[in-house]
């Protein structure tokens, strides 16, 4: 998205402001998924070192999902360039509604990822406690 579309101006309408907030939020989702990619590599290394590779398959599956979702969000981000061409409320509302759908997808992805991480940490704690 062009930089000019990320700046907030005093003459912006409510709709402009909402699109800008959504753009900024979308960038944050992308940054988070990029971090998740890095985090998954760490978790695989820890699993190999302490849990004899348990969870590695789940993490690899998550890695693939992450890759697909990241591509989807990047393509959605590119499609938002055409917001500036919206001429009626219907068009603006379509973008706003799309954003809420992507939010649901992102939240769903995070919830699942968190569940796997919770199980992983639980197992890690158990393995470490039994070692002591």
């Amino acid at each position: 998205m062009k930089n000019i579309y990320n700046q907030v101006y005093s003459h912006d309408t409510e709709v402009d402001l909402t699109h800008k907030i959504n753009t900024s939020e979308l960038n944050n989702w992308i940054t988070h998924l990029q971090y998740t990619k890095k985090e998954l590599n760490h978790l695989v290394a820890i699993s190999n070192g302490i849990l004899e590779g348990k969870f590695v398959d789940s993490f690899e599956e998550k890695h693939n999902e992450n890759y697909d979702f990241l591509n989807l969000l990047t393509s959605y981000k590119n499609s938002r360039d055409s917001i500036t061409e919206c001429e009626d409320t219907e068009c603006d509302m379509a973008f706003i509604s799309d954003h809420e759908n992507f939010r649901q997808g992102y939240t769903y992805y995070l919830e699942n990822y968190r569940k796997i991480k919770d199980s992983f940490f639980e197992e890690l704690r158990a393995a470490i406690t039994s070692k002591k």
């Binding site: 907030v8 912006d12 409510e14 919770d118 393995a127 002591k132």
Partner: protein, 129 residues
């Protein structure tokens, strides 16, 4: 004609506040989840890593996170009141405030990522005996 237009303005105003409330609710959920994750990191630090600096960093971070959650909950109350009873238009001031809150949330998330990286790097050096 006038009443239709004021209805539209009010409907839009509520829509934009509602949208901010949805985003905010996601941030609060995220910080809560982050607090749970912190429990696991704390446990690992105590049982395996035994690193005093890391322990201090975890404690400091937990304080920051709790404070940030409290501030976001306060902001949620402000938005809910505005949604129910407010009359103020949704303008640059509202957007800037939301942006400021978003930056505070992102700052916490970024600190947590750095903290996690530190724990992961230390854990990666551990091997099962």
């Amino acid at each position: 004609m006038n009443s239709t237009s004021s209805f539209t303005i009010e409907a839009q105003r509520k829509l934009f506040i509602k949208k901010d409330l949805i985003a905010l609710s996601h941030w609060i959920d995220e910080l809560e989840a982050l607090d749970n994750e912190l429990n696991s990191l704390k446990h690992l630090e105590q049982k395996v890593l035994k690193n005093a600096i890391l322990s201090q960093n975890i404690t400091t971070f937990r304080r920051k996170n709790t404070l940030a959650m409290g501030l976001l909950c306060q902001y949620e109350q402000v938005l809910r009141t505005e949604f129910e009873y407010g009359k103020a238009i949704y303008d640059v001031k509202s957007a800037k405030l939301h942006e400021k809150k978003q930056n505070e949330y992102l700052c916490i998330k970024k600190s947590f990522m750095l903290l996690k990286d530190l724990v992961y790097k230390l854990l990666e050096t551990c091997k099962r005996n």
